[in-house]
């Protein structure tokens, strides 16, 4: 009996939380997309074909099906952080190691890349 009146409150709270989480995920995807296209920041488009981006570069591989290619997001994060660790010859700048992007920004870009 004592728990009964609380139930709707819990439900409402849960629904609110879920809503916030979805909104947050959407906003990081949007942020990530912005960073990926921004010349001063991620600038992924300079070297990679990305759906929705005009005049892409051709140095790196097209960014698509990344969730299938890298089911573990930490792998994608590591590539953006410092791809020279895996491939010393890579052209890809070490965005994390050289502080071009913050950890949070890299996270947002990974969120965006996983939607491609």
């Amino acid at each position: 009996m004592t728990a009964f009146p609380c139930k709707p409150v819990v439900l409402v709270a849960l629904a609110l939380l879920a809503g916030v989480a979805v909104a947050q995920a959407q906003s990081t995807v949007a942020d990530g997309r912005k960073l990926a296209f921004d010349r001063g920041k991620g600038n992924c488009l300079t070297c990679h074909v990305i759906k929705g981006g005009d005049l892409p570069g051709s140095i790196g591989p097209e960014l698509k099906d990344l969730k299938a290619k890298y089911p573990d997001r930490s792998e994608l994060t590591a590539i953006i952080f410092d791809e020279t660790k895996r491939n010393p010859q890579t052209m890809m700048p070490p965005f994390g190691r050289n502080r071009i992007l913050t950890e949070q920004e890299i996270g947002a870009i990974v969120d965006f890349l996983q939607t491609l």
Binding site: L45, T46, C47, L55, P56, G57, S58, I59, T84, Q89, M91, P93, P94, N98, R99, I100
Partner: protein, 287 residues
Amino acid sequence: MRTRAALLLGSLSAALVAFALTSPRVVAADKIDPVADAKAFQNFFFQKFPNVKHEDFVNGPYSMNADMKRQWQEKEEFPPYEFALDAGKEMFATPFKNGKTYADCFPNGGIGIRQDYPYFDTKEGKVVTLELALNRCRAANGEAPYSYVKDEMASLTAYMAFTSRGKLMDIEIPDDPRALEAFENGKRYFYTRRGQMNFSCASCHVQSPGERIRAEILAPALGILNAMPIYRSEWSGMGTISRRFVTCNSQTRAVPLEPQSDEYRDVEYFLSYVANGLPIAGPGARP
């Protein structure tokens, strides 16, 4: 005594033979060999782009893309560097306050000599570029130096390049350890990664020529200086070799050096030497 000496000599020569047998690679790698380097450098590009005529590499991105080449050829009918060329010609003919001219500072009156620059000055023990020689000429005649990156310097070098068009790059490396070291130093700078983006000159211009960064096409390093100076649309104006080096550094978020610093002079020496045999095409036009 004699046997001991013979033994010593024997073991010494055995050691030498062993050394010679085991380490020829090491010895070869340690030796600075510009002739072999230039051959390997050129072959790399010739093999990577078998359809590009060798003399066409000096046209940079246009050698890599047919569409761009056509647009450029149309543009060449009214080339954007023309005003600089005309200005340079006039400046070149105008006497300094002391009555002398640029022609007095250069072999052959400065005409048709672009392909011989930069050269190694054995007296100074350093590389002397054309831009440097022009400002030294001014200083020697009591004139203030010009900025190395554009304007008058670009006009003068445009004219001097124009009178040398078609002549083959002909850089010499004299038998002087300092000249070899300058070449090697330039090569080292060219291949060393630097700056926030972690690019070397070679990342873009050896690893990725012909590839696009957004709408731009990366130029091959082979012959990249033969078309200097250039009118660059991105700059809305002319730029010298110095300007090219400085902007390459700053665009990759590395710290640019002073124009005509020793390292830039050495890079120019290296890049020009490995382009030996390719024609002078300056002044050029680039997007």
